[in-house]
Amino acid sequence: MTSSAIPVTVLTGFLGAGKTTLLNRILTEQHGRKLAVIENEYGEVGVDNQLVIAGEEELFEMNNGCICCSVRGDLIRILGRLLKRKDRLDGILIETTGLANPAPVAQTFFTDDEMRGAFRLDAIVTVADAKHLLQHLDLGDESVKQLAFADVILLNKADLAAPAELDALEARIRRINSVAKIHRSVNCAVALDQVLEVGGFNLSRATELDPKFLETEYPFEWAGAYTLPGGALEVAIGHDDEDGHAHEHSHDGHAHSHHHGNDNELDLVILPLKSLGESDLAAARDLAVEAFSGWESRHREGEAIVPGPTLHRLELKAGHGHFPLTLPGPGLYAVFEQCGEVPLHLQVGKEPVRPDWQQDYHAAHEHEDDVSSVGFHQPGDLDGNRLNTWISELLRTKGGDIYRMKGVLSVKGSNKRLVFQGVHMLFDAKFDREWGSDPRANTLVFIGKNLDRAKLTEAFKACLA
């Protein structure tokens, strides 16, 4: 793709989510530029002086029906015709039907020599209806895929959902696609630079991967920060307190369908916390990860807990237990918990304390969608040969299940960053700029179906030089 290539934005989303609204908004606000719109139905979009072409989606399914080899014949044809003009177009917007699989659209711009030369796929923008997304997700594959493939997700009609619902939706979207930019919108009112010139397929922009979204497999499912008085408190586990004081980590309204390990055990780490600032929270989280991988100290009902980097395994009876907690002084404390279905409260006397901050972490096994993101952020260098062998084998055997892939890698022997991205089996990589003063590290994310986090982690780690 050359720099003079015409940028292409692909709009996906279920019927009624607001694709047409977004299209019209872009066209209205971009009227100085010559854009062409390829829409999937006649007459939905209408803005003067803009080129609107209605087409019928036509899949060219290549050899033996492999989806990785399929392209969109209608796009090749229509875009080929759009190139036949004296003046260059400034951009292309492609609206897909609600049921379209984005993969062949993306692949069209990678595999067809003419399309690859003339156009530059900028981003896949998925418009999701905040009110109906959950229903759509339950309907089947395509809406999940549209989220999984997206570079940008508009959680539209955000006014029709409660903030807590939106939070839960975002959390669920994050588990499917950990790297897409998510914007809440009403009537698709977003700044145009949030949907145009996004650079979702730009190798150098792959560096904007935010490692904080690439949650590795945390050994805990929930953390909360509390402001506590010093002295004697109690950790109370169980449903015995039915008056509504349970901490509210409802996990998107889904009860855990399975507890990892014994139903009558609960793992806990309590750490003093400097502040609710991001770096202090991250430091505490990292310390907790370490503590969770250490030896556990077992506690029976009534046995005291002290804060510090130690894993406490609390033994419960029928899901209940009370454990004294002694704090050296008043202040902020973070509680990390691998919980089951049982709620946990910190009590001062009989009064439960509410957390000032809380977060759910997705453990490896927890997912309601079989499409997920698996990401790594790991300092150090990779062995180039082993990396190459691994990725080739992975794409050969799992390419059909891997929708998107992005990464910035540090390969031993090169002072430049290896940036790469891919769609299914199609893979694009190059060395871009030098690391310079940046710490050498590997950031890598896979988005796909039935991804085995443990296996991917193991294989990735085996590539470390």
Binding site: E58, F60, V71, G73, R77, R81, K86, D113
Partner: protein, 344 residues
């Protein structure tokens, strides 16, 4: 060999198609924006400008034979075929085919007994194939193609027209417009050409490859190894040489006897992807054009095949030889139609 500029004329947009009238007296040039210009072949004077099609013209073609007046058919993004009297510049008739763009049209060639055959134009709009008479009457094919029709080519004797879509080629009888034969091909097809002797039907494909059929015998050959999809094909008048695009070389296959399998093709090099190939109609020169604006003439059978070169400021969009092979019309992306004289 000398290639010199005869004349040039400016259109309002990209030159999307060109055609010489059967007597060689007129050159029709369609701009992608819609209007169609009719130029006098001798001096480039603009005889008429036809309105063409709203939203853009895609293709055009003169009815065969030296009947007077010459009839020009055009297809456009309005889903219609229009017929024009090229002598007077008058619109004669419109045949609406549907909502989809008319992207391909092809007049039935005159067979051995031309008087028996009324002029018939095959035109494709989306998945619809239509047969249009010289008066604009039209008859849609009874069944639509499974996908958008991507190429049309009449068998040189006029017995059938081949229509390609993703998945294969259908041969439609030229008299009763029913499907004679299906030639499956499991990929996208961008171009079709028959050898002038009617022995070979060749497709240029998305995958990228060319596929050859002998429809009479059901014999098939597949030639792959191209850099990119194959969009342009041309046979020489002897039916031996098949020129194809699909990379930085124009690739010429020897189709004599049992065909090109096992033979090395001649690779005629350009410095950029090839974007047009055209053999002369009655002689052996091959014109090729590339994305860098180069137009080369070749004699593929010679040891030193390159005969002449021209460099245009913009890439050529079409190469069309005049009926007497003395003039080569070149359309360009910048909207200029050039006519070059070929001597020596």
């Amino acid at each position: 060999m000398n290639l010199s500029k005869h004349w040039a004329a400016q259109l309002d947009d990209y030159v999307i198609d060109l055609a010489w009238s059967p007597d060689g007296a007129l050159l029709a040039a369609a701009s992608a924006a819609g209007p169609i210009s009719l130029f006098a072949a001798g001096d480039g004077a603009r005889r008429h400008e036809l309105a063409g099609h709203e939203q853009g013209t895609n293709c055009l073609g003169f009815a065969p034979g030296s009947g007077a007046p010459p009839v020009l058919a055009t297809g456009g993004q309005d889903g219609a075929v229009k017929l024009w009297d090229a002598a007077s510049g008058q619109h004669v008739a419109t045949a609406p085919l549907g909502q989809a763009w008319v992207e391909h049209l092809a007049w039935r060639p005159r067979g051995k007994e031309p008087s028996d055959q009324p002029a018939v134009l095959a035109a494709a709009a989306g998945r619809k194939l239509g047969f249009v008479g010289i008066d604009g009457s039209h008859r849609p094919a009874k069944v639509d193609a499974p996908k958008t029709i991507s190429a049309l080519a009449w068998e040189p004797g006029g017995g059938c027209v081949a229509a390609a879509a993703f998945g294969g080629v259908r041969l439609w009888d030229g008299d009763d417009f029913i499907v004679q034969k299906e030639l499956p091909y499991a990929n996208g097809i961008h171009a079709l050409v028959w050898s002038p002797d009617g022995k070979w039907l060749v497709s240029g494909n998305q995958d990228p490859s060319v596929h050859l059929w002998q429809p009479e015998t059901d014999f098939e050959l597949h030639m792959s190894g191209y850099e990119g999809k194959v969009k342009y094909l041309s046979f020489d008048q002897t039916s031996r040489w098949l020129a194809t695009s699909g990379g930085r070389d124009a690739c010429v296959w020897d189709c004599s006897g049992a065909g090109p399998e096992g033979r090395e093709p001649a690779m005629l090099p350009h410095d950029a992807p090839v974007c047009a190939v055209a053999f002369q109609q009655g002689h052996g020169l091959l014109a090729t054009a590339a994305q860098d604006g180069a137009v080369f003439l070749w004699s593929p059978e010679r040891r030193q095949p390159l005969r002449a070169t021209v460099k245009m400021p913009k890439p050529a969009t079409k190469l069309v030889w005049a009926p007497d092979d003395r003039f080569l019309a070149i359309g360009s992306e910048s909207g200029i139609a050039y006519v070059l004289r070929c001597e020596g």
